[in-house]
């Protein structure tokens, strides 16, 4: 599952960037404070997951969905996150759908200039 314990830490550089972006220009953050925030973030992820798992089980489904996560967040007093997350999720869904469509159209076309592409796609499938 997880080979090294470091695989569970969130990347420091990303954490530092998110913190910086959320604060006024002049502000900075000490190393210890950043580590504390990073730890809190990991704990938050686990906390949200286990609460969502409980919720999913209660509703008799095994796979946690985005809906479970959003509902959990609302229950845990983080409903202020929900509108922005809902928006992001919509964009994400659109993007995934677009990708699928592009893939489908790639497969469907049998025109000459796309021959290479589909061959390549086929080859890719073969190597999978």
């Amino acid at each position: 599952m997880v080979e090294r314990i470091e695989d569970l830490n969130l990347p420091n550089s990303v954490i530092a960037r998110i913190i910086k972006e959320s604060l006024p220009e002049s502000a900075s953050v000490s190393k210890e404070a950043r580590a504390a925030i990073a730890r809190a973030a990991s704990v938050f992820a686990i906390f949200v997951t286990s609460s969502s798992t409980a919720l999913a089980h209660k509703q008799n489904h095994k796979t946690i969905t985005a809906k479970d996560i959003l509902q959990t967040l609302a229950e845990l007093d983080f409903e202020s996150f929900v509108p922005s997350l809902t928006q992001d999720l919509e964009i994400y869904r659109k993007m995934v759908k677009e990708k699928k469509e592009i893939k489908a159209s790639k497969k469907d076309t049998s025109t000459a200039e796309n021959a290479n592409a589909s061959t390549a796609a086929a080859a890719e499938d073969a190597t999978e």
């Binding site: 953050v29 000490s30 997951t49 796979t63 479970d68 999720l89 796609a121 890719e124």
Partner: protein
């Protein structure tokens, strides 16, 4: 580059896999693109597909790929690994992982802002650990962090 990978892998692996691959396989698309003619058995295809698939299609992809690369700052594979720590969690779909990643980003930002109010109160510019601790003990919804922070 990462965006190309995204596109490449998420196409052909199953969705879940694609997520995990995302963060871990930058670099494979960098190989120079010789045009592959006809051979499906040709091994270097993975790396070359993108350039070959080319003009009209690729442009579209690149755009959406870049977009996805920007959608979460945190690596989804890492988030998924953290989620898997929950022994009761059997499966989470990609959307769920994405949502958690975004939620964690919001969480970091709001905890930082909350901590900074204590920093500012003491007329300082640099957030110290105790500012974070004070924020945690002051905000009700952060109760879950009590006891998880001191080690």
């Amino acid at each position: 580059m990462a965006s190309e990978d995204l596109f490449e892998f998420s196409e052909d692996l199953d969705l879940e896999q694609a997520m995990e691959t995302e963060a871990e396989e930058p670099g494979e698309t960098e190989e120079p693109s010789e045009v592959i003619e006809e051979t499906p058995e040709n091994p270097p295809t993975e790396a070359t597909t993108e350039p070959v698939a080319d003009k009209p299609v690729t442009n579209g992809h690149k755009a959406s790929g870049d977009h996805e690369a920007k959608m979460t700052q945190l690596p989804l594979a890492r988030i998924r690994n953290i989620m898997k720590l929950d022994p009761d969690m059997h499966m989470a779909n990609n959307e769920a992982v994405f949502t958690v990643a975004k939620a964690v980003e919001l969480f970091i930002a709001s905890l930082s802002r909350e901590s900074y109010t204590y920093t500012a109160q003491s007329k300082k510019k640099t957030i110290q650990k105790r500012d974070v601790e004070m924020a945690i003990s002051a905000v009700d919804s952060l109760m879950f962090l009590d006891g998880a922070m001191n080690f």
